[in-house]
Symmetry: C2
Subunit: 189 residues, 2 copies
Amino acid sequence: MQLLESYITKYGKALPGDILKVDSFLNFQIDVELLDRLACDIYQHFKDKNINKILTVEASGIALSTLVAKYFNCKLVFAKKSKTLNMSDDFYSEKCFSFTHKTQNNLMVSKSFLTSEDNVLVVDDFLANGEACNSLLSIINQANAKLQGIAIAVEKAFQGAGDRFRSSGIDLYSLAIIESMNEGKIEFR
Amino acid sequence: MQLLESYITKYGKALPGDILKVDSFLNFQIDVELLDRLACDIYQHFKDKNINKILTVEASGIALSTLVAKYFNCKLVFAKKSKTLNMSDDFYSEKCFSFTHKTQNNLMVSKSFLTSEDNVLVVDDFLANGEACNSLLSIINQANAKLQGIAIAVEKAFQGAGDRFRSSGIDLYSLAIIESMNEGKIEFR
């Protein structure tokens, strides 16, 4: 998507360690007008897939997912990384290593919020090594829900997970695909 | 707000330890259509205040804040609870004790995303003992930004923070105010 690529080129920074800093518009300060354009585009791609639930991970996936859920007029569920007092003990869980936090978490989704009736679209801001998505797919499997696709704002293709998902037959739709970030220069596919 | 109160009465559960469980529509599974109605109501209350930035805390405040920011057509910033690799070292921070996690965090906002030019509306899903809001107000102060008000979906009035904010002159707008939750019975103000 041209618009997102132009934002990444203009405001993004490729840092050492394969880190793309886009926190002025995507995942710390959030340009809601831009995200709404991304959400609309995601809706256009998946609108015939009978999706009734959006699934993401806290925290930075929530803003885009909220706007996507609004287009689909469906519920949004986010996987939690730690158990809270108001959470029941009846949940699906899967371990997940965070690239940006360098920590291991358990992603958790209450069993009552994901069932075999659900046609699920997974949405996230970033796809790098695919850890978060893999954990969400495991949780969807545990719930016997149906995965209809994955929508991502920024895919870092050189970390490989995107092409692995595509070759396994998953409908992965990434709005910007970064092929390389060598020496601070961002190249799109 | 009648609509939110009816959701709380119908789907909410008052649990021991002053815990209100509304995770089927507000902060785990999210009813985006409902949240959009709340966001519109918040916009109506604050629309003449020249607000140019929404500030919240990850994670459960992000969904409502995204929709509020869309009405104001302004940027959203969320305070982070832990430092990520893609975050610079130049941030405001304030400690914060989480009621639902029972953990102490440092809330952090990058200095570039909050400045003395900003007219800020703080938005969150819950107001209980006011820890998160107090920390956000401290961060707004550190940035010399201007606080225009606080918008909350559910205020637990019996925990006292709401009335403290009001008596200090802050424009606090809570869409549902719970006066008591004795023996599982939820009473609204």
